[in-house]
C-alpha cells in the first residue's frame, strides 16, 4: 500500500509555529512538539475516545473549549493550551474526578508516577467543592499477576480499549452504570486472559497493578534502565526499574525501541528468572572426577553415588582443559562438539566457536536453530539463492494481504504479532491457515483450518491455481531455473488433491490463490521455531516458490528469528560449517562425538525426541554444560558451570529485525557465576597459555566485527534463484494404534525451559497440559483437568487434559517447556523435508 502524499499543515500552539501532517489531532501535534497537554484517555495506539475532557484547549475564534484529541489540525489555527479559561475547566474536571478517587496515595504503588496525582498537584484541585460517597469495592487480588483496585479507577477506559482494540483480547470491560461503573471481566469473574499487562502500563492511576510490585517500592527509589528483552526475537526494549541492585519491575515506555511501549507477558513479567533461588552459583564437578583430578582415586561407581560437588573455577576449568585435550589426542579433534545458545550474547557465542574451532580444532559447532531458523534459512537459500534476511518490523502494516501459515505469531513473537492485528484493523486482509485456533485466526479475515502439518499441500495447491489460471508474474518467473519442473510437478496437484491433503475445500484454495495474486503488496509470514513440529523445510521451500512465482522479492516472505539472539548467534559463527557436524548429527547419531560442550541450551526438554538425545548424551565420555540453572541436561553432565544471565553481563543482541542492541550489566550474578565469554576466554588460556586473556572490549570488538560482516554478506549475497518442487511428506501418520496427531509448540507465557524459573510466569502458566478436542474428549470420556498419559513410539508423558476446541478433532496440542511432563520425549526429530508430526495414543489414568 503506497502512502498517499500527505499535506503539511502549519499552525500555532501557544504562539509557537508548529507543523503537522493533515489529519493529525491537535493533542498529537502538541505532544510531538514537546508541548504537554494533560490527558487520560488518549493513547496513540487507540481510536480517539474524547472521554476524559482533560485535554481541553482554547482555539482562537472558537466559541467553546474543545478536546484537543478529537480536533484535527487546520491551517492557520491558533491553539492555546494554558489560558485561565482552560486551567479553570481542567481544574473542575480534576475536582470531579477526585470526588470519587480515594486519597490512599501513601499505600498506592502508583504514587509518584500517578498522572492524576501530578495533575492535581499542578492544577491544585486537592480540595473539592463537591462531596460524594467514595467507593468501597474490595480489591481483586485473585488473578495471577494483575491486581485491580476499582476504587482508584477514574474510568478513562484506556485499559479496556488497549485490551480490546490493540491487544485483540477483550478480557476486561466497563461494567455497571453510573456511579457503580467499574473495570472488570464479564460478570466480575476472576481475570483470565493472556496476562500481557498492557492494561497496567496504560492505567494513568493505581487501579491496575502488577502483583509482584505490590508494596515493594516507591517510584522515587527506582532507577530505570532500558534493556532488550531476553525472550523472543522481537527485541523489545523493556524499561527495568532497579532498586538496590535488584530488578523490581519491568515496563514498556512509549517511544522506546521499536515496540514503542508494547510488551508481552514474557517481557513484562519474565524478568525475575534471574533472581531465582535455583540459579547455579558455583562450578560443579562429579565427586569421582574431583578426586581423580587430585590425588585420591575412587572405586568405580554409578551415577547416583557420584554426586555433584562444588568446586572452584580453576579446578573445573583445569579439568575440562585436561579432559578435552585428552579426548582430542586419543580420538581426534572431530570427536568434540559444542552446542551454542540463541539466548547468549554475540560475544558469548563468538568465544564459544573460537574456543572449539581454534583451541580444540574441531568445527562441530551448532545450535537448536538447526530445527528452527536455520531450517527455514537454508530452504529459503535453496530457492532464492540468498539467505533469509531479518524481518521488517512494519512489513504487516505495509502489506494489504497477509498469509500466515501454521504460525502462532502472537505467541512466538507477541509484539510483532500485534502489527498483524493492527494491519487487519486498518483494512488489510489477514488469512490464517492453521489447524489450531490462535489469536491470529480469531482476528483473521478468513481462517482455513487445515490438517496439522499440511501447509505445504495448501501452498502447492495455490501454486497450481496460480499457474493454471496464469495469475503469476510471467516475465519474472518463467526465466527462473526450475520453472518447468515446478509446473510439471504440480500439474496433477489440483485444488481437489490439495484440498484432500490439507483438509479444506478446493474452492477455498482457489479463492485464496486468486486473492493472493490480486493483492498489491502481499507477505507470507511463517515462524521457524525448534519446538514447533508442524513445519518442515518443504513448507519454507513451497512458500519461497510461491513468492518467487509472483515475482516478489525475498522480503515478501517474513520468517522471524526465534530467540533474542538467534541471528547474531548464527552471524558470530555458531552454525555447522562445511566440515563440521550439525546439531542433528551430534545429538541424534550415535558415536559421532566423545565430548560435548553445551552452552545455555536444554536439549533434553527443548529438542525433539529426547530419548534419542538422552541415549546419545549417556554414551559420551565427557559432557560439559554451562547454564544458569540445573537443567535436565546439566544433571547428566560431568562438569556444570554457572553462567551469568541476561542483565548480569555486557554484550549485544541482534533482534529478528536486525537491530543490534546493547545489553548492560545492571545486576551482579549470583555466587561465582561468570559471563560465558569470560569462561571461554579462561578456557582458551588453559588450553594454550600463550593465548592472551582477552578483555571484554577486545572480545566485543572482534565478535561485533565478525557478526556485522556476516550480516553485511547476507545483504549482498546473491546466488542463482531456482524453483524447487517439493511435496508434503509427514513423518508419522496416525494409524489405528496411535490414532492422534500431536502438535507441539511454545506458548505465550513461556520460552524454552528457563522461563520456568520466573515466579511471575509460573503464576500464570505453571503446569504442563494437553489440549484435546471436546469431541475426542467425550468419545474417550476424558474429563477436563483429568490426568492423561500420551505416548508415541518413542516415549510418553503425563499431563492434565484441557478440553478445548482450539485444536481440531484427532489432534492434541501440548507445550514443550515443562520438564515435569517431557512432551519432547514423544516427538520426532527430522531434518529432511518430512514434517516431524508424531502419532500418539492416549491412555487414561
Amino acid at each position: 500500500m503506497k502512502m498517499k502524499e500527505e499535506k503539511i499543515i502549519n499552525f500555532m500552539i501557544n504562539d509557537m509555529p508548529v507543523k503537522a501532517k493533515e489529519g493529525t489531532s491537535v493533542l498529537r501535534a502538541a505532544l510531538d512538539n514537546g508541548i504537554y497537554i494533560p490527558h487520560f484517555c488518549y493513547d496513540k495506539r487507540l481510536e480517539v475516545y474524547g472521554g476524559c475532557r482533560l485535554c481541553l484547549v482554547d482555539i482562537k475564534g472558537g466559541r467553546k473549549l474543545v478536546t484537543s484529541c478529537t480536533t484535527a489540525v487546520q491551517e492557520g489555527m491558533e491553539v492555546y493550551t494554558e489560558t485561565p479559561k482552560v486551567i479553570s475547566a481542567r481544574k473542575t474536571v480534576l475536582e470531579l474526578l477526585l470526588v470519587h478517587h480515594p486519597l490512599d496515595c501513601p499505600v498506592c504503588d502508583k504514587a509518584g508516577e500517578c498522572q492524576l496525582q501530578d495533575l492535581a498537584f499542578k492544577y491544585g484541585a486537592s480540595e473539592g467543592r463537591f462531596s460524594a460517597q467514595r467507593k468501597k469495592d474490595p480489591e481483586r487480588l485473585d488473578a495471577p499477576v494483575v491486581q485491580r483496585n476499582t476504587n482508584r479507577c477514574i474510568l478513562c477506559g484506556k485499559c479496556v480499549k488497549v485490551c480490546y482494540e490493540h491487544q485483540g483480547v477483550g478480557a476486561i470491560e466497563l461494567i455497571g452504570r453510573g456511579f457503580k461503573t467499574k473495570v472488570s471481566p464479564a460478570f466480575e469473574e476472576t481475570l483470565n486472559c493472556e496476562f500481557c499487562g498492557q492494561c497496567i502500563d496504560a492505567c494513568p492511576v493505581g487501579a491496575l497493578n502488577s502483583s509482584y510490585y505490590r508494596h515493594v517500592s516507591r517510584a522515587w527509589y527506582l532507577k530505570d534502565h532500558d534493556m532488550p528483552c531476553p525472550y523472543c526475537g522481537c527485541g523489545c526494549i523493556t524499561t527495568l526499574s532497579m532498586r538496590d541492585g535488584k530488578i523490581v519491575r519491568a515496563k514498556g515506555v512509549e517511544g522506546k525501541g521499536q515496540n514503542d511501549g508494547n510488551l508481552c507477558s514474557r517481557g513484562r513479567y519474565g524478568f525475575d528468572f534471574i533472581s531465582s533461588p535455583q540459579r547455579l552459583t558455583k562450578p560443579l564437578m562429579r565427586k569421582d572426577s574431583l578426586y581423580s583430578n587430585n590425588i585420591v582415586s575412587s572405586e568405580g561407581s554409578t551415577c547416583n553415588d557420584n554426586p555433584f560437588i562444588e568446586t572452584s573455577w580453576d579446578e573445573a576449568l583445569d579439568f575440562i582443559a585436561k579432559k578435552m585435550s585428552q579426548i582430542a589426542s586419543e580420538h581426534g579433534h572431530e570427536k568434540i562438539g559444542a552446542i551454542g545458545s540463541q539466548r547468549c550474547t554475540t560475544e558469548d557465542n563468538f568465544m564459544l566457536q573460537k574456543f572449539i574451532k581454534e583451541s580444540i580444532g574441531s568445527s562441530n559447532v551448532d545450535s537448536a536453530a538447526l530445527f528452527g531458523y536455520e531450517k527455514a534459512s537454508r530452504s529459503f537459500e535453496s530457492v532464492f539463492g540468498q539467505r533469509l534476511r531479518h524481518i521488517s518490523w512494519d512489513a504487516p502494516l505495509s502489506a494489504d494481504f497477509m498469509l500466515v501459515v501454521e504460525s502462532d505469531i502472537t505467541s512466538l513473537l507477541p509484539v510483532w504479532g500485534l502489527k498483524f492485528l493492527e494491519s487487519k484493523r486498518k483494512g488489510s486482509r489477514l488469512v490464517v491457515a492453521d489447524a489450531k485456533k490462535t489469536k491470529l485466526s480469531r482476528h483473521s479475515s478468513s481462517w482455513l483450518r487445515i490438517t496439522p502439518g499440511s501447509g505445504t499441500a495448501l501452498i502447492n495447491g495455490m501454486i497450481n491455481v496460480l499457474i493454471r489460471e496464469e495469475l503469476y508474474n510471467k516475465s519474472a518467473a518463467e526465466d527462473v531455473a526450475g520453472f518447468i519442473e515446478l509446473r510439471s510437478s504440480l500439474k496433477e496437484f489440483t485444488p481437489d488433491v490439495a484440498a484432500k491433503a490439507s483438509g479444506v475445500t478446493a474452492d477455498e484454495i482457489v479463492n485464496l490463490a486468486r486473492e493472493y495474486a490480486s493483492a498489491k503488496e502481499r507477505i507470507i509470514a511463517i515462524t521457524a521455531c525448534a519446538s514447533e513440529n508442524t513445519k518442515s523445510s518443504s513448507l519454507f521451500v513451497a512458500a519461497a516458490n510461491m513468492a518467487m512465482l509472483m515475482g516478489d522479492g525475498p522480503e515478501s516472505l517474513q520468517v522471524p528469528a526465534e530467540h533474542s539472539n538467534t541471528l547474531s548467534m548464527i552471524a558470530s559463527g555458531v552454525q555447522a560449517g562445511v566440515n563440521g557436524k550439525n546439531a542433528y548429527e551430534m545429538l541424534y547419531q550415535s558415536n559421532t562425538l566423545r565430548a560435548l560442550y553445551i552452552v545455555g541450551e536444554d536439549p533434553l526438554v527443548m529438542m525433539p525426541d529426547t530419548t534419542a538425545v538422552e541415549n546419545n548424551l549417556k554414551s559420551l565420555d565427557f559432557l560439559v554444560v554451562q547454564d544458569i540453572f540445573m537443567t535436565d541436561t546439566a544433571k547428566m553432565a560431568d562438569v556444570v558451570l554457572p553462567a551469568a544471565a541476561w542483565a548480569e553481563k555486557e554484550g549485544h543482541f541482534i533482534s529478528a529485525t536486525g537491530n543490534v542492541q546493547k545489553l548492560e550489566k545492571i545486576c551482579s550474578s549470583p555466587g561465582e557465576a561468570k559471563p560465558d565469554w569470560e569462561v571461554f576466554s579462561m578456557l582458551i588460556k588453559k588450553m594454550d597459555s600463550r593465548a592472551g586473556l582477552m578483555s571484554f572490549s577486545d572480545v566485543s570488538m572482534e565478535a561485533q566485527l565478525k557478526a556485522s560482516s556476516f550480516m553485511a554478506r547476507l545483504e549482498r549475497s546473491k546466488g542463482r534463484p531456482g524453483f524447487i518442487p517439493v511435496e508434503l511428506t509427514i513423518a508419522e501418520e496416525p494409524d489405528s494404534q496411535y490414532p492422534f496427531r500431536l502438535v507441539t509448540s511454545t506458548i505465550l507465557q513461556h520460552s524454552g525451559s528457563f522461563s520456568m524459573l520466573s515466579k511471575n510466569l509460573d503464576a500464570i502458566a505453571s503446569e504442563p497440559y494437553i489440549q484435546i478436542n471436546s469431541a475426542d474428549a467425550s468419545r474417550l470420556s476424558i474429563n477436563p483437568d483429568a490426568f492423561i498419559e500420551i505416548s508415541s513410539r518413542r516415549g510418553s508423558a503425563v499431563a492434565k487434559a484441557v478440553v478445548s476446541d482450539e485444536v481440531p478433532e484427532g489432534t492434541l496440542f501440548a507445550p514443550v517447556h515443562f520438564s515435569s511432563a517431557r512432551i519432547n520425549a514423544l516427538t520426532y526429530a527430522a531434518v529432511d523435508g518430512r514434517v516431524p508430526l508424531a502419532a500418539v495414543k492416549i491412555t487414561k489414568i
Binding site: 501513601p106 499505600v107 499542578k122 484541585a125 486537592s126 487480588l141 505490590r214 515493594v216
Partner: protein, 193 residues
C-alpha cells in the same frame, strides 16, 4: 598630649574601667553551664534525634509512603516495604542514617501521618557509625525515650509546623507562601482550645 590624656595614662583609668566589669562579674551568677552536670532543656521545636511514633497498639504509625525519603535532601532515609499476610502494606525496614542527616526537618513536615518526628534528644554520640544508623526498632525506642520524658503532646506543643492549612495549590508545599497561611500563634490557640 593634653592634660586629660596624661591623667588617663597616669591613673590607668581605662584599665580600671575594664577591671570594674571584671570585678562586677565576679559577684554575678555564672552564665556558663556546667555540661554534662547541668543540662539545658531544649526549646520546643528543637530538631534533635529522629523517632518513629507509635500507634496505641504499639506498632509504628508509619505506613511506608516514602514521602519523607522523597523530600530528604541528603537522601538518608531508606524504607523497605512488602506485602503483608493480609495484603496490607508492611514496613519491613525504616532506616535513617543519622550521620548524613542535616536536620532540616522536612521529613517531619512531609509525613502525612505524623509518623516520623524529631525529638529533643541531642546526646547520641558514638564511637561507631553502626550505632548511629537508626533502624526501625531504634527509632521506636527513641520515641519511647522522648514520650516518657515529655508528657505533653508532640504536635502543637513541641513541634511547631510552619503551617497546617493545605487547602489550595498556592499553599501546597510552598514555603514562600507562608504569609498567606495561618500564623503560628493561631495554630497554638486552636490547639489549646
Amino acid at each position: 598630649m593634653g592634660v586629660k590624656k596624661i591623667i588617663k595614662t597616669v591613673f590607668m583609668l581605662e584599665i580600671l574601667k575594664g577591671m570594674s566589669l571584671t570585678f562586677r562579674a565576679l559577684f554575678r551568677r555564672p552564665v556558663t553551664r556546667q555540661y554534662p552536670k547541668h543540662k539545658r532543656e531544649p526549646f520546643a521545636g528543637f530538631r534533635g534525634l529522629h523517632a518513629l511514633t507509635r500507634r496505641p497498639d504499639g506498632d509504628a504509625v508509619c505506613v511506608g509512603c516514602g514521602l519523607c525519603a522523597a523530600i530528604c535532601p541528603s537522601q538518608c532515609i531508606k524504607i523497605y516495604t512488602s506485602e503483608g499476610a493480609d495484603h496490607k502494606k508492611v514496613v519491613d525496614r525504616y532506616e535513617i542514617e543519622v550521620l548524613r542527616c542535616l536536620y532540616c526537618g522536612l521529613c517531619v513536615e512531609a509525613c502525612p501521618f505524623k509518623a516520623v518526628v524529631m525529638t529533643d534528644i541531642y546526646e547520641y554520640s558514638s564511637f561507631t557509625r553502626q550505632e548511629l544508623y537508626m533502624t526501625k526498632d531504634k527509632l521506636l525506642a527513641n520515641w519511647d525515650r522522648f514520650s516518657e520524658k515529655r508528657k505533653k503532646t508532640y504536635f502543637g506543643s513541641f513541634w511547631k509546623p510552619l503551617f497546617t492549612d493545605f487547602s489550595g495549590s498556592d499553599k501546597q508545599a510552598k514555603l514562600q507562601d507562608v504569609s498567606k497561611a495561618k500564623k503560628h500563634e493561631d495554630i497554638y490557640l486552636e490547639a489549646g482550645k
